[in-house]
């Protein structure tokens, strides 16, 4: 278990991180998800020992200060070195003997499927190949903690999914603890089953992806995760009033914003929580047998994802909540 113990970072008058407390299980993949400028890279730099926090510590299970090896967003392969020299850089500076160095390089290059690139320079490699070399350069050090900064953001869609699976496979094979930061929630959900949401330098929520989507802890998290309707209204004693819905709600904070995620909250099957009657304006096919429905209620529009062919356009339907809706 790794512990982030009250980590704060301040540069000049700007507070970048505010007392971050987290525990990260060993041999797992942990995602830190947040919008641009939320302090994700700063936090990762602290875990890598690149930046020193103004307050707090990053400790391992034995209570010692820990430092992870980083795979950077732009890979940062040394441009004046071949793939072989890049990969063996960490061993070379530790004065590892030549035969061991060569053997370990051979093994890791085989694992990463980059043996044929041994004499190439970084500018002769594709984005995917560069990432594999960057991973090899870190993994050759027999590390325990691997840090990845926006690892897949510069890869195209197909390669991104391939690399996601590959990183998962590496994590299992080398029994690594991987901490990675991203602003793509699908990336975080696909790679990790524990995600921390970092907004404005604060950890807002740490949860499994499904829990995050269904139960965001505050409006900032809900708005960041997106894919939801935010309906403004007034609130008194768990009774919400708005043009779209008026009735009982579960109050989390008292800002008076009704949170209706596109999927999972609205349905046509009757429940004990009637929502509203609405006219179907438009249907858009979303793939995987899903349609995004645009519903008009009293000149306001609400979106929701339903199974294909559940509704027809220009017809009015009664909608229900699957559970008591939340108001922030």
């Amino acid at each position: 278990m790794y512990h982030l113990d009250n980590i704060s970072q301040q540069k000049g008058n700007t507070h970048i991180l505010h007392g971050i407390n987290l525990t990260i299980d060993e041999n797992s993949i942990f995602a830190i998800l947040g919008p641009s400028g939320s302090g994700k890279t700063t936090l990762l730099n602290i875990l890598a020992g690149i930046d020193r926090p103004t307050d707090g510590k990053f400790l391992n299970e034995d209570g010692q200060v820990e430092k992870g090896i980083m795979v950077f967003q732009d890979y940062r392969l040394f441009p004046h070195m071949t793939v072989f020299k890049n990969i063996t850089f960490g061993l070379k500076v530790k004065k590892t003997n030549s035969s061991e160095l060569k053997q370990r390089a051979k093994d890791i290059m085989e694992t990463m499927g980059i043996s044929e690139l041994i004499d190439r320079y970084p500018d002769e490699l594709s984005g995917g190949q560069q990432q594999r070399v960057a991973l090899a350069r870190a993994l050759i050090l027999n590390l325990k903690l691997l840090l990845m900064d926006e690892p897949f953001s510069s890869l195209d869609e197909a390669l991104r999914i391939e690399m996601l699976d590959f990183v998962k496979e590496l994590q299992r094979k080398f029994q690594l603890t991987i901490v990675f930061v991203t602003h793509y929630k699908t990336e975080a959900y696909m790679l990790s089953n524990k995600v921390a949401i970092l907004i404005d330098g604060q950890i807002m929520q740490v949860d499994a992806p499904k829990q995050l989507e269904s139960n965001p802890q505050n409006l900032a998290v809900a708005r960041f995760l997106g894919q939801a309707n935010f309906i403004e209204g007034s609130l008194s004693n768990n009774d919400f009033v708005s043009p779209v819905y008026s009735g009982k709600v579960r109050t989390v904070t008292e800002k008076g914003v009704l949170y209706l995620p596109f999927s999972g909250q609205l349905q046509l099957n009757k429940t004990e929580y009637p929502a509203f009657k609405g006219n179907i304006l438009e249907k858009k096919w979303m793939g995987s047998n899903l349609e995004r429905i645009t519903i008009e209620i009293d000149q306001k529009t609400v979106y929701c994802d339903l199974a294909s062919e559940s509704v027809d356009e220009n017809k009015t339907y009664q909608f229900y909540f699957s559970k008591l809706p939340v108001v922030f």
């Binding site: 690149i50 430092k67 940062r76 004046h80 960490g90 050090l141």
Partner: protein, 264 residues
Amino acid sequence: MASKKILKLLVYLLFAVLVLMPLFVIFMLAISKTWNYPSLWPKWVDWGYYFRFLITNAEMQASLLSSMELAVGTVVLTILIAYPTAMALSYYDFKGKKLLNILVYLPMIIPSIAVLTNMDFIMIKYGLNGSFFGVVSAHTLFCLPYAIKLLYDNLILWKDKYEVTSRNLGATPLQTFFKVTIPLNKNGLQGAVMMSYIVSMTQYLGTLLIGDGNYITLSVRMFPFTTEGKYRIAAVYGITFMLVTLIPLYLIDVWVTHKGRKLA
């Protein structure tokens, strides 16, 4: 198309004449025995004169040695000061950065006679006038703006991102400097070394003033010959001067171009 080619050729030709003509005149002066006005070409040419002069003239050899010693010392001292300064200016934000940026260029802005007179005063105060270190420091002062600018322009290309990577992979600061910073900054370093070497070689006033006559370099010895009209000897010094400047520069260039990967 053809007229464009001719124009291009003419520009090249003009450039060649402007650059090569003075060199040609110096070369001819060095090998001519008699070349008086209004003759277009020398009447008598002695191809061996230059080499005989170079081998037998003790003053010339002493000047050559003196120039090279000072140039090497200046290059070393300049790089020792310029490298950390350029790194600080390109990698870090700190209070007084703008002021330091201006201070770096001061030796180029303030008239050199003013700088050197004051420097001489300081050198006398600390007993450094006439010493090797004193003269090298005077040369270094004029090399620093060029060296810092050339190193800075190259370092700013990548900032410290590869150094950070190297440190994260376990390298010490020294290992990082020699394995990452210098190889990536080879072109900037080449420029800084070359410029410092040339500036030191051509320093006349600084060498005379701070050196107290202890260092009679090529440029110091050449100057009176030119003013007194002894063009032949001045030309021999001129050619030697060019050779000891151009040969090391060529060697450094070959080393930078052929060793390792060509980088920005």
